[in-house]
Amino acid sequence: MTQIKVDQTVDTSGKCCPMPMVETNAAINAMQTGQVLEIIATDPAIKWDLPSWCERTGNAMLDQTEASGTLRYYIRKGGADG
């Protein structure tokens, strides 16, 4: 994959719904438009939750990987000026 510059990482490993999405929202709210958030998760529910959340909130999913049960998502924060 193309190297993505990550501005912040939220590691939700071991946690289950609702915490990965709660922590993702908290992290993205504290970031600037255009910055990239890396989300690390082991709860497979995030495979459904995160794409839907990106579509609703206007944040862009840049990439995703899965290895040994660990999911990584790269989200660019959207916004009016982004």
Binding site: T12, G14, K15, C16, C17, P18, M19, P20, M21, V22, N25, A26, W53, R56, T57
Partner: protein
């Protein structure tokens, strides 16, 4: 979704987890969440009542295990701490039903500070539930 109303009736530890989790999810995303606690669940809006909640019925003997699992999932195991976390999003308002408060002995003196007020069901149903984009009952 801009707003969601949730009416909570069931007060056992395990059954109240779902409405609280849904509220936490949506409030964290920026949805205005208004919750009305009715019947026995109104006691969850008192510190003593929240701490007294237990898994009941046929799963009662699994209470300690459920609490460990809740903590493992990343949530605080105490209901009062979950309520505090929901409030910390700044997008949730919790109300006690006035009838339930009267019956189950909840008043302004024992209501937790995270609760907004003791209100009439008519007000909540007309001003919150029917105005919300989505309404849920537990």
């Amino acid at each position: 979704m801009q707003s969601m109303a949730i009416i909570v009736r069931d007060d056992s530890y395990d059954k109240i987890l779902t409405p609280l989790s849904f509220a936490y999810l949506q409030a964290a995303e920026g949805t205005q969440v208004d919750m009305l606690f009715v019947n026995w669940a109104v006691r969850a809006l008192t510190e003593e009542g929240a701490r007294a909640l237990r898994v009941d019925g046929r799963h009662a003997d699994q209470d300690p295990w459920v609490r460990r699992q809740v903590e493992k999932a990343g949530l605080p195991p105490e209901i009062y701490d979950i309520i505090k976390a929901i409030k910390s999003t700044g997008n949730a308002t919790l109300y006690a039903c006035s009838l339930a408060a009267t019956i189950f002995d909840v008043d302004k003196d024992n209501l937790i500070p995270e609760a907004e007020a003791i209100v009439g069901a008519s007000w909540f149903l007309h001003e919150k539930a029917t105005q919300a984009d989505h309404c849920q009952y537990f």
